[in-house]
Symmetry: C2
Subunit: 212 residues, 2 copies
């Protein structure tokens, strides 16, 4: 069995997974998640209700799977590129590059944000996924810097700060309806605020804030 070789089985599996997720997302956009039943999603995706449960533990997870950014890939890259740069610098570059090169994904993210406001049931699950990523990231930061996740403050706090920079940037960018091009620099601003130690809380009277 080659590592290259992807069987028909794998392909079909991915296809039904996508079909279910897409169906869930579509129906949710139409009627709101509360009005959508698993049976409906199943019908829309041309599978049995039982199969839906085989792929997702709940409606919510199905919807979220559809709105998935490729952030996992970014973390993957962070992992596989063992540069000597300090973690926050590397992450800043990776994320702002990603924002520059894949604006589609990020448009999708802001769509999901709106969907989440309309369907609060989604929140806990989305956030749980976010936290999982932070934990993965913490471990990698620790590995890179020779620190220890369970005993040092550093790795967890860096991971959390980086995620916060990304999420906050996205929220502001989406809320202000800024053009795609401005997102990368907004992300850089956020990271700068982190490494600058949150100027408003130090000597400088003027915060690094983006004016309205």
């Amino acid at each position: 069995m080659d590592a290259e070789h992807v069987g028909l089985r794998e392909i079909k599996k991915q296809m039904t997974r996508d079909a279910i997720a897409t169906a869930a997302l579509k129906l949710t956009e139409q009627k709101g998640l509360n009005e959508v039943t698993v049976d409906e999603i199943a019908r829309e995706a041309f599978v049995s209700p039982r199969t839906v449960s085989n792929y997702f533990a709940s409606k919510e997870e199905a919807v979220l799977a559809a709105g998935d950014l490729g952030i996992e890939e970014v973390l993957e890259e962070f992992n596989s590129r063992p540069s000597e740069d300090p973690p926050l610098k590397a992450l800043c570059e990776l994320l702002s590059d990603y924002a520059r090169e894949h604006p589609e994904h990020l448009r999708g993210a802001s769509k999901m944000a709106r969907l989440e406001q309309l369907n609060p049931t989604l929140r806990p699950f989305r956030i749980a996924r976010e936290i999982e990523m932070v934990e993965v990231l913490s471990a990698r930061v620790a590995a890179r810097t020779g620190t220890n996740v369970t005993t040092d403050l550093y790795p967890s706090m860096v991971a959390s700060a980086a995620m916060s920079a990304l999420i906050t940037s996205l929220a502001i960018w989406s809320c202000k309806e800024l053009p795609d091009e401005s997102l990368p620099s907004l992300i850089q601003d956020a990271f700068n605020m982190i490494t600058a130690g949150y100027p408003l809380d130090r000597e400088s009277p003027d915060p690094a804030r983006t004016p309205v």
Copy 2:
């Protein structure tokens, strides 16, 4: 109707709420949340199953309600004490003072952390609560500093960083089984790392890390 006057009704309501939450926590500690049914919780708390649903939307929320720290109160104090100090400084003081004065609550927190590892269903709900607090905090930071939650990076990032400092400190303190007295200074270390701009990511080669 005085603002002071608390009717018998209110008292009873709070009591049944506590009874249900306590019952949920107790049973979960005994058998694991998966093996606990709402009916059981109801029996343990001497109420009908329907009443359990009246108070909590799910078993998970009932369990979490039992392990509630008094962090809301701390935020309350942050709100009601309009000092001129920068937010991160004020929060650092408030939280480390709180850790010094109410170690019981924080012991409870680390118990809940263990419970959460054993019962992963709890995670999404706990985290969702955390995020809610971050959002409240963001709003207050914004109000204090004259910034805007929806257009400025500053308030959300500060709130998130502060929560991260608290959570990470608690995790490490709990994991290392440190004495109660050391928690406040650990929290201060975490806040120092924030305002110092995460030393490892700047010029200093030596991170502000706590050695094993």
